[in-house]
Symmetry: C2
Subunit: 359 residues, 2 copies
């Protein structure tokens, strides 16, 4: 049975308007809609334009749809790297991006830091790398990269493309798009939607790079290559039959977010993370996994619970609260709490009250 509040970091709690949007979609015949119709083109246009407006993305950026962020890891390496990519690894997901580059035969370099730790602020990255891959929010550990860390590469490595995995942080962060060439996320995290859709945002420099790789005779994939995406997006279409319902629902939720206001969403996110971090910093049994406050994630909060993990989980579940498990080797000693727009202030207050009682 469904818990009252679901804090797993993705798939996570569904935004409260989604079920109604689905009902309306069925009434309007959206699930049967052909993807080469004027009606679909209008949905594509609405979703991409509203998303750019919500995230304050410059008009000239492209918005493409993939099946998952995992797919975008693969497609971005294929389309943006001839030989050398560079990866900042501080957890399981940033590591997987790197591993995908290796599997695709690239000369992938990396700087790694232990789980939960910050990178040195001035990393040593070689000048000849083509792509710098940054994971804004490491979902496995609850570490976020500071914006000035992300923004330094445009100046220091002007020839490299900068790509940011913002899977579990958007729509919260305010990125400076003049410092970034590509960003991506999947909808089952901060957008409160069922899994099955990844969103890939790229600028013209990315397109140019993919076209150059193609002209040089390199493999950049088939239906989901950047040039083929762009050719279809010009008509507000997709290369293949996409997850039409997913694109429709994303457009509807983005509309809801715009109505609520991105400023309000950001303020509420900060309020919710503040009360949970404060509790964790003062709890007799629990503690924050990420000690350095400057890199604590606002959207995925990780608690060290040690041998109390199972007991705390059971007590929360009794109160109707589903926490997220720790990731990988921390499964039995940590809990993760997603802090997405779908999680209300009241749910966060209930979470904090419930944890406070557990002593």
């Amino acid at each position: 049975m469904k818990p009252f509040a679901h804090f797993g970091p993705g798939p996570s709690q569904i935004y409260f308007t989604v079920e109604d949007h689905l009902k309306k979609a069925f009434r309007e015949g959206i699930p049967s809609l052909g993807h080469r119709t004027k009606e679909f083109e209008a949905i594509f246009q609405h979703t991409t334009e509203d998303l750019k407006s919500l995230l304050e993305i410059p008009k000239e950026y492209y918005v493409f749809f993939a099946a998952s962020a995992t797919e975008i890891w693969e497609r971005s390496i294929q389309n943006l790297v001839a030989e050398r990519s560079f990866h900042f690894i501080n957890g399981a997901f940033s590591k997987r991006f790197y591993e995908i580059a290796k599997l695709l035969g690239k000369n992938a370099e990396e700087i790694s830091v232990p789980s939960g730790k910050a990178f040195s602020p001035n990393p040593d990255v070689r000048q000849n790398v083509e792509l710098i891959a940054l994971t804004h929010n490491e979902t496995s550990t609850g570490v976020s990269l500071p914006m000035n860390f992300i923004n330094q590469f445009r100046h220091n490595h002007p020839k490299a493309l900068v790509i940011v995995d913002a899977v579990s942080s958007l729509p919260y962060p305010v990125f400076d798009y003049s410092k970034i060439d590509s960003i991506f996320f999947s909808v089952q995290k901060g957008f409160g939607l069922p899994a099955g859709l990844g969103v890939w945002i790229v600028n013209e420099r990315c397109l140019t790079k993919a076209e150059k790789l193609l002209a040089d005779g390199r493999q950049i994939g088939t239906y989901h290559s950047l040039p083929f995406y762009a050719q279809n997006a010009k008509k507000n279409q997709t290369p293949e039959t996409p997850n039409v319902l997913g694109i429709y629902l994303l457009g509807k939720v983005v509309e809801d977010f715009l109505r609520r206001g991105i400023h309000t969403i950001r303020k509420e996110t900060e309020y919710k993370s503040a009360i949970l971090y404060q509790l964790l910093d003062n709890h007799p049994l629990l503690s924050c996994f990420v000690k350095d406050k400057s890199v604590r994630s606002q959207t995925v909060i990780v608690a060290d619970c040690k041998d109390k993990t199972k007991w705390i989980t059971d007590e929360l579940v009794k109160a109707g609260i589903q926490p997220g498990e720790g990731y990988g080797e921390n499964k039995k000693t940590q809990l993760r709490f997603a802090n997405f727009p779908a999680h209300s202030k009241e749910q966060y207050e209930l979470l904090v009250d419930s944890l406070e009682k557990l002593t």
Copy 2:
């Protein structure tokens, strides 16, 4: 507004139980379900086992989930072909499978026949091809391959893998799986579901081939390579966060189909196609595009309507019937009618009656 009956060949009419299954899914928290949970593993197992039971697929075959049949075109060429694939082209979709092989740098050979025509029954295919790609049902033209055509290759080309695109025909056809190594479809056609999920069924020979390509240092992709799919499927899991809701809904619709009985579904399909083909063969204004009865599709029926196409469409739409447009260059002169399990006998009778009046 939603028409009474939607005959577009995909996305097509949604099976009548889907909306209730969706409601139940939301009540049970399926859209928030993590894909590494026991609950998801149970859904994966249920969907794949029931699907094999419905389609009478041998137990030892694997069932993998992709985003679309388009993705499976790409993944199958990557995983099953070092150098040479062979394609039978009789329309837009079989041609695209071939083009994807070319884009991936393969030495793809082909035999083409004009739209709406049958292949010569004993085609000349070289012995050294690694993969023979057959499109069972060409959605663009309404031509189906006879089963004895498909089944000849195992004997004549024992070393080649045989892959069948059954996108717009399953669950209707009865395949002999001893003659086929891989088959695939997408759920928005014969399974009456919203688009966003492709299903790829492969045998051990396919796995072995992909492993050999990998051992030889070839690129077979990353998260959706056959070995990685298989490694995850052993745990009833997927490589990435998949379309969880899509997999759940597929399992539920397959359950419904099993309850109705595949024999009944097949008989009803044949009844519905028979009354429409009979009408088209005797209509003063309309005619069957496919003249050769031995290759007429049971599941996508194409009518030549010439300069009456727009008028017929308008009249049908007035009666609450949405026909499918002709494909590509035949958009303005043909109509296509999907005949899937979601289309009831009553809807087909209404379609035939409505067309009969148009003289």
